[in-house]
Amino acid sequence: MEINYDKLETKEFNDYFLKNIGPKLKQAEKIRQTDLANFKSALTISVSIYFVFILVYIFGLIPEYSLEKFGAGPNSLLVFIIPLVIASIWPFMIVKNYQKEMKKMLFPVLFKSIGNFKFSNNTLKSYEIEQYNLFEHFNQYSSDDTITGTYKNINLGIYEVDLKKREQKSEEKTEVKRVFKGLICKFHMNKEFSGKTIVLQDKGWFTSVPGYDNRLKKVHLEDPVFENHFEVYSRSQIESRYLLTTAFMQRLLDLKHKFNSNISCCFYNQEIIVAIPCKTHSNSSFDFKNFEFDVPLLGPISLGDKNFFELPWLFENMVNIQHFKKILIEFISVVSIVDTLKLEQDIGM
């Protein structure tokens, strides 16, 4: 059964949505309103705590109002530490828990509405990601959504990941650099192979194989357009050409244009792994919804959500079928990689 965008406009889908997901959306909306009220209260209290702390600190600097005059020592401001920590974390904890709860409630039934797909928390292990040799070394890894299932009898897994590298530049300064943020999509490959072949974006002189695998050698292919966009490395020159037929190379180019993104892929362990980076936001105007805070103890949080499969954020009405259709459109465009690459066909091309 083909999945396509037209299915989302059918009466059948709308009826299914209203019957199975509609009640959950109403329930979710009640939870959202409660969490929004809690968030506003938490924010108010947190801001108040900070305000009081700042006031006490400023007044303490004035000799007439110094803390010693009131019998308090210079370390008395330490009593503010715990409230300040709570004030810093509490509102964001509400947002993070809200996102988690909404996804757990809505995504399983949402993705099931268009096929045999399951939303889960099983993520890729970081050593698995390193094996693909698609990304530079990273030492911070967070994952968000995971969807597994089958489409046209092809087993697939879609994993939203965020890879970063924390480097100690000097004794006082550490730098965190983003290595990759986006989707890692795994599909069972329709050809038997035993080695590893990777297809990376062509960066000219600066292209090299991330990670360490000295068996990967450069492969020069015949298609000049493909060679302009990608660079191929493989453990076997013949196997790489067996996998990357002229027709397949064209399909990879079509895929790159479809996502309008610097995709890369790896053939490994009977699977094709496609990495799709999410588009970075141009920062000409500040996008508060997707601005990300790195909160101690909790990790990165954005008041919206990560860039793929975004839920309505805390300030938006949850009962909005169009928003969920948008999520499904994103999902369909990823699953249709099977159609673009013709992975379900066994024609040797």
Partner: protein, 191 residues
């Protein structure tokens, strides 16, 4: 009196060193290309050998069922024997392999007329394996042609052409499809 520290002599020495490096680089490049070509040729040979083994299986299975195709089976057996002979020139070997491939494809078409053979599990598996090997042969040929291109460039462009002549890097032929493979197919012949 010779002036060892003279700038002109130093420049000449530096120039000689640079030219030596360039020539050494050209020489190693030629050797690398030759070794790549030998690797590519060996890759094709490995796949062709696998194909030979599968063809043996297919012939063994087909003989049981295809009593009326004795002529075709005999042709295939003879071609197999010719291909396996040692000291066959490269171009002739490619031609023989092409002919063998065409005959086996003909045999595969004839299998359609024998329902018992067509549904035989060992035959199905053998045909699937054969098709995979054909895909690998196609990939090996592409690698071979890519290596030939590198060698041709080395033979025809100086300074590598000088070293190519020294190591006797003769021009290997490109792997070309048989003329009949390029003919348009008339579906009416089969339906």
């Amino acid at each position: 009196m010779e002036c060892i520290g003279c700038p002109q002599i130093n420049l000449v020495l530096i120039g000689l060193v640079v030219i030596s490096f360039i020539l050494f680089g050209a020489y190693t490049s030629v050797i690398r290309k030759r070794n790549n070509l030998l690797e590519a040729k060996s890759g094709i040979d490995v796949q062709l050998q696998k194909r030979q083994n599968v063809i043996t299986n297919i012939l063994t299975i087909a003989k049981k069922f295809m009593e009326h195709e004795k002529g075709l089976l005999t042709e295939i057996t003879e071609l197999r024997t010719s291909v396996a002979k040692p000291n066959v020139a490269q171009k002739e070997k490619f031609d023989l392999e092409n002919q063998l491939g065409l005959k086996v494809n003909q045999l595969m078409l004839q299998v359609e007329n024998y329902p018992d053979l067509k549904s035989d599990q060992t035959m199905i598996q053998a045909m699937k394996t054969y098709n995979e090997i054909e895909e690998n042969i196609a990939a090996a040929r592409r690698f071979y042609n890519s290596s030939i291109k590198e060698v041709k460039n080395a033979v025809e462009i100086p300074p590598t052409s000088f070293f190519a002549y020294l190591v006797n890097l003769s021009k290997f032929p490109f792997y070309e499809a048989d003329a009949s493979a390029a003919k348009p197919v008339n579906a009416a012949d089969f339906l």
